[in-house]
């Protein structure tokens, strides 16, 4: 069994984003998804700092400090894109208009709770940004994260121990080992990395998984 690289995870997420989708890619790992969107599909990227129809990073030297994404990296605007202010941008997110948002995660629970903004450690400086708005606002919330912490502990849990970002908000989880759907009955396996069996995946996960092929 070979764990997916970060780029491979991004590729796997990108495969599930259909033509015409309005999508917000969270800062960090999810940002990589932009590099793997199929060239043949028109997909509209939203960034919470007031832009829809975001294009790729500009060539070196052509950066515009007034045109950035939510991660404060320079981006470009596609033909047909437009700008709006922060309240309009978050109305778009909170009003249920985005088809998909892709977020990073510290933990996801078996019922789709998400923890991704704060480790809860007393000396950590908290920062939440738009994560809570995306978690409750997008029609589908994809979470993209390693299956395990660096210490080898499953990030898929019965109940999040880190402070929550949103309750029962996650639709689907993409890890370096598998893709899991959050269903009313629990986490259902969509696919598994090559060379890993369902039983092995189950042993590597913190919660009971559903094998739809069983």
């Amino acid at each position: 069994m070979k764990r997916l690289t970060r780029e491979q995870m991004a590729q796997r997420v990108a495969r599930d984003i259909p033509e015409g989708a309005y999508v917000n890619l969270g800062i960090g790992l999810p940002t990589l998804v932009a590099n793997h969107l199929p060239a043949g599909r028109e997909i509209l990227l939203h960034s919470e700092n007031g832009v829809l129809g975001m294009g790729p990073a500009p060539p070196a030297g052509a950066e515009d400090p007034d045109l950035i994404n939510a991660g404060k990296q320079p981006v470009t605007l596609r033909d047909g894109g437009c700008y709006f202010h922060h309240a309009d941008s978050f109305a778009m997110m909170r009003g249920g208009h985005l088809d998909i948002c892709v977020l990073g995660g510290f933990q996801v629970s078996v019922t789709g709770d998400l923890a991704n903004w704060h480790t809860g450690e007393p000396d950590a400086i908290p920062a939440v940004g738009g994560a809570m708005d995306l978690a409750i606002g997008a029609k589908q919330v994809f979470v993209m994260m390693e299956h395990h912490t660096k210490q080898g502990v499953s990030k898929i849990v019965g109940r999040c121990s880190y402070p929550l970002t949103g309750i029962a908000c996650v639709s689907r989880i993409y890890t370096d080992l598998a893709v899991l759907d959050v269903t009313p009955h629990g986490l259902s396996v969509v696919d598994i990395v090559d060379g890993l069996s369902f039983d092995e995946l189950q042993r590597l996960s913190g919660v009971p998984l559903i094998n739809p092929r069983a």
């Binding site: 015409g20 509209l44 109305a91 208009h97």
Partner: protein, 227 residues
């Protein structure tokens, strides 16, 4: 390729079912999507709830729709006008239910629906007949009424220009309710004077981003000059 343009007025209003809640843009006749309303009349959906600032002028547009008898209920702020005879007769006969809403509450309730707000406290209407039976609250010494979002299945709106992604710009005070209704409906249908190539609308001046628009119908500039 995303292409939200539709080829005919009939295609634009296809699928609107009986019993639907339909927002219709316009303030009087400014911004009223006349071609889409005519198409809705031809389409035949009945038992409709209509949301508009007014309740029709003369005997065309919204007034003509009311006259078909297919509207069960209207939500508006200013039904009575010099030329609202169609509404007046239906209302007096009891054939049409009216929910009268202060204009600012109407606008804010539509915006709230589009923005995911569950409810909001507004000072407008407090202590008046239009807030009767509604929850109230004193906040920092001021009295407010609790109002809920107003959503729709469809919105029919009129803009000046659009593109295949559904981006819209409007014309003068014909803008009025169009941009907020577009955010509050599951399916927003915009009639425009013309569809322009992608990238032609100034990204700093797009008023309705395409995410809020599902269908775009070009009706030609004649519509704009019409009375």
């Amino acid at each position: 390729m995303i292409d939200k343009t539709v080829a005919s007025a009939a295609a634009a209003v296809a699928g609107i079912p009986d019993g639907a809640t339909v927002m219709i843009g316009g303030f009087g006749t400014a911004g009223q999507p006349a071609e889409l309303i005519d198409a809705l009349i031809a389409q035949g959906a009945r038992d409709l709830t209509i949301v508009n600032n007014n309740a029709g002028n003369g005997d065309t547009g919204l007034a003509a729709l009311l006259k078909t008898g297919r509207v069960r209920r209207i939500v508006c702020s200013f039904p009575r006008q010099a030329d609202s005879q169609v509404f007046d007769a239906l209302y007096r006969s009891g054939a049409l239910e009216l929910e009268l809403v202060p204009q600012g509450n109407l606008a804010e309730r539509i915006r709230a629906a589009g923005a995911g707000i569950g409810a909001f406290y507004t000072p407008t209407g407090y202590g008046t007949a239009l807030a009767e039976g509604k929850e109230t609250r004193l906040i920092d010494g001021r009295a407010y009424v609790l109002e809920y979002p107003l959503r729709a299945d469809y919105a029919l709106i009129k803009a000046r220009l659009g593109d295949r992604w559904g981006n819209l710009v409007y014309r003068k005070t014909a803008r009025n309710f169009g941009p907020i209704m577009a955010t509050a409906a599951t399916c927003t249908i915009a009639q425009v004077d013309a569809v322009v190539p992608l990238g032609e609308l100034d990204p700093e001046a797009v008023v309705t981003p395409g995410i809020f628009v599902q269908r775009v119908l070009a009706v030609g500039p004649a519509a704009q000059a019409a009375p």
